[in-house]
Symmetry: C2
């Protein structure tokens, strides 16, 4: 029997006549396909149908197709076969499909961006502050803590040290998370968690990152706190109170503790109030 392109259920002979998509098994009873070579869309559709028929026979559940952006011609054919979008990064789109009857149990997409703000104070009670040359505070004259986005796969404590180093060239040691704030609709419908972090300076000389930072300096904490913008916003006012309480030894945040995970072999950081637990 020769290969045919209709979409009726395929028998074993027909299945064998089609080239199937290369797939690897995931640990949840599903398969992952990564398209790495250009494919003409009609051929892709035939291969996809034959592959799904095969995976159905094998009792597979979720199907993932990772489509690099250079193969964007295959998005529409995959959607026509019933795939939907799971997530996207600049250079690829992840589509998914659920073979069994009933609702799928595929994991939810990432919903939050994670950011850090770095409170770095020296022994003269001067705080490390910057003025940004782009973004919403450009040209406002506001002196603010160094801030930045935590990359996927990056620890919060690593991101804080990295951002301070990148923006000001100051070396620091991460101490603890003092507070965090969750906000919504940070961009489109996504949410945002901002971690206020305490870092200890290990060096003092400042050299600014010119693409992002207009100016940076060590500023007396009182002067930072008295800026009208800081006084006006509860988030920043609370941050000032927390930082002061911390510096006076009255406040305990969450320190990172490396822990083994129940869910993978990797070590991860757990953040908690270690002073209270030990005390």
């Amino acid at each position: 029997m020769s290969a045919s392109t209709n979409s009726t259920p395929m028998n074993e002979q027909v299945l064998q006549d089609y080239k199937l998509l290369d797939a690897i098994n995931d640990r949840y009873g599903g398969v992952v396909v990564e398209v790495t070579e250009p494919l003409e869309s009609t051929l892709f559709t035939s291969m996809l149908r034959a592959s799904i028929a095969r995976w159905r026979q094998q009792g597979k559940k979720g199907v993932w197709i990772k489509l690099p952006i250079q193969h964007a011609n295959l998005v529409d054919p995959a959607v026509k076969e019933g795939f939907w979008y799971h997530h996207a990064e600049p250079n690829y789109l992840m589509l998914c499909y659920w073979i069994p009857e009933g609702t799928h149990t595929l994991p939810a997409n990432a919903s939050h961006r994670v950011c850090i703000g770095a409170f770095v104070m020296n022994e003269k009670r001067e705080v490390l502050v910057v003025q940004e040359n782009r973004g919403r505070f450009r040209g406002t004259g506001l002196w603010k803590f160094p801030t930045g986005v935590v990359d996927e796969g990056e620890d919060i404590c690593t991101a804080a040290v990295r951002e301070v180093k990148e923006e000001t060239a100051v070396d620091t040691k991460f101490i603890e998370v003092l507070a965090f704030r969750q906000s919504h609709k940070a961009f489109f419908d996504k949410s945002d968690i901002f971690f206020l972090c305490l870092l200890e300076p290990l060096s003092s000389e400042i050299q600014i990152q010119e693409t992002e930072i207009e100016a940076a300096k060590w500023m007396p904490f009182k002067e930072y706190a008295s800026q009208p913008f800081v006084q006006k916003h509860e988030l920043l006012k609370y941050s000032v109170d927390i930082c002061l309480a911390k510096k006076d030894g009255k406040y305990s945040g969450f320190s990172p503790v490396p822990t083994s995970s129940a869910f993978s072999d990797e070590n991860n950081y757990m953040y908690f109030n270690t002073r209270d637990l030990e005390g």
Copy 2:
């Protein structure tokens, strides 16, 4: 002069001959297009080129195109014009483009999923535990805290109360975040933050959510803590220690405090050690 479909720079007359894409301005000097009607791909390409030429004249920067999944035929044409992927949800793909010279300043995509675990203990020192009927703990006999995923746009404190209610029908009041753990490669390259939350029970009768939960009960805390799986994993052992210290009045986590934001008109929750700040 009549409309032409070549891609050379367009003069004012040619621009006027093309229908432009409907777009709304964003607050960062960019535009957002949401495709709501079916469009043939060649026509879309012509409209997109004419629109970009217009936006360039207007000094626009970022361009966003939100493509509902039923218009997946337009993904490939947009990519061919230089768009790349920003993020995707099951029913749409967001593409973006940067008009000015130089590197773009478009916001990063969401990188983290946010989950909660709920520690709910009654006055008899019994803790609310469940057995799941799907996922990795299915059939293991492990009794665990109710857990779940925080939706985008949902407060952590709201999600914790919702998950306990959904899984067990028990009403609770959110008290504080006791600890959190960040882990990586939770799914593909995305990361995960898990917040361990303390909740106070407001009711005791259990009714399970049968799609997800096999069984639920109030279990003596000692019995929960002595499960071999809990003893074996540092994350869970620390959680037990923290929960016990909390119940004995020796531990302070982060409580949610509603705050106005410097960045939007919405109220958001800031979480910090309110006991230390007041004390």
